[in-house]
């Protein structure tokens, strides 16, 4: 099956810093989504982004499908950004059958 690797695995930032999270996948995908899982376990959909660039406030994402990677940018980080960021891909036309990546654990400190 498809492999989805994320880097870095762990990241510690001071509040106000910027960061870039990377997601590499081993095969063609139909869609790619980014999620944030907060410390209480809640999984929030950030972006649905099979290709191109999208922005939502301090967050933006870019997927280059032909090169099989996606990037999530976090600017002016806040403590509420802490948690685990997952990218997830779908390959067989089943929109809800996602393969999740290994995750990036982010801690934002004061």
């Amino acid at each position: 099956g498809i492999q989805v690797e994320q880097s870095p695995p762990d990241l510690i930032l001071q509040e106000g810093a910027n960061s870039t999270l990377r997601c590499n996948f081993s095969d063609s995908v139909n869609n790619l989504q980014w999620f944030h899982q907060n410390p209480w376990g809640q999984l929030i959909n950030l972006f649905y982004i099979p290709s191109g660039t999208k922005q939502n406030g301090r967050l933006s994402a870019t997927t280059v499908a032909t090169e099989r990677y996606s990037l999530l940018y976090i600017s002016s980080s806040q403590t509420t950004d802490s948690g685990v960021y997952f990218c997830a891909v779908e390959t067989d036309g089943t929109a809800s059958k996602l393969t999740f990546g290994t995750g990036t654990r982010l801690q934002v400190t004061l």
């Binding site: 999620f35 376990g41 999984l43 959909n45 649905y48 997952f86 997830a88 036309g93 059958k97 393969t99």
Partner: protein, 114 residues
């Protein structure tokens, strides 16, 4: 507009027992999928229900079964519980269609098997 709701939030069971978890999808969604998230790992797809039928299944044994009701809500049943079934079980809903609908997750049910 209610999001995806799951019950119960926490559950403790003994090895060999059976458990039923429940999920109501986000308003307007009719497709429900279930995921298992072990500690420190990403969620893994169990199965998807649409029009009251299991449409896709991940690599999980037959001990894991489900059901979808006419109102689109869903249940996940796990029989003959093993210690390794301890995990956060997440329900997600989406609009029907192919490849163009973001998933919305509930807050999960944390199952502990002792």
């Amino acid at each position: 507009d209610a999001g995806v709701t799951q019950s119960p939030t926490h559950l403790i069971k003994t090895r060999g027992q059976q458990v039923t978890l429940r999920c109501s999808p986000k308003s307007g969604h009719d497709t429900v999928s279930w995921y298992q998230q072990a500690l420190g790992q990403g969620p893994q797809f169990i199965f998807q229900y649409y029009e009251e039928e299991e449409r896709q299944r991940g690599n999980f044994p037959d001990r894991f079964s489900g059901h979808q009701f006419p109102n689109y809500s869903s249940e996940l049943n796990v029989n003959a519980l093993l210690l390794g079934d301890s995990a956060l079980y997440l329900c997600a809903s989406s609009l029907p269609g192919v490849g163009n609908s973001p998933l919305h997750f509930g807050n999960g049910t944390r199952l502990t098997v002792t």
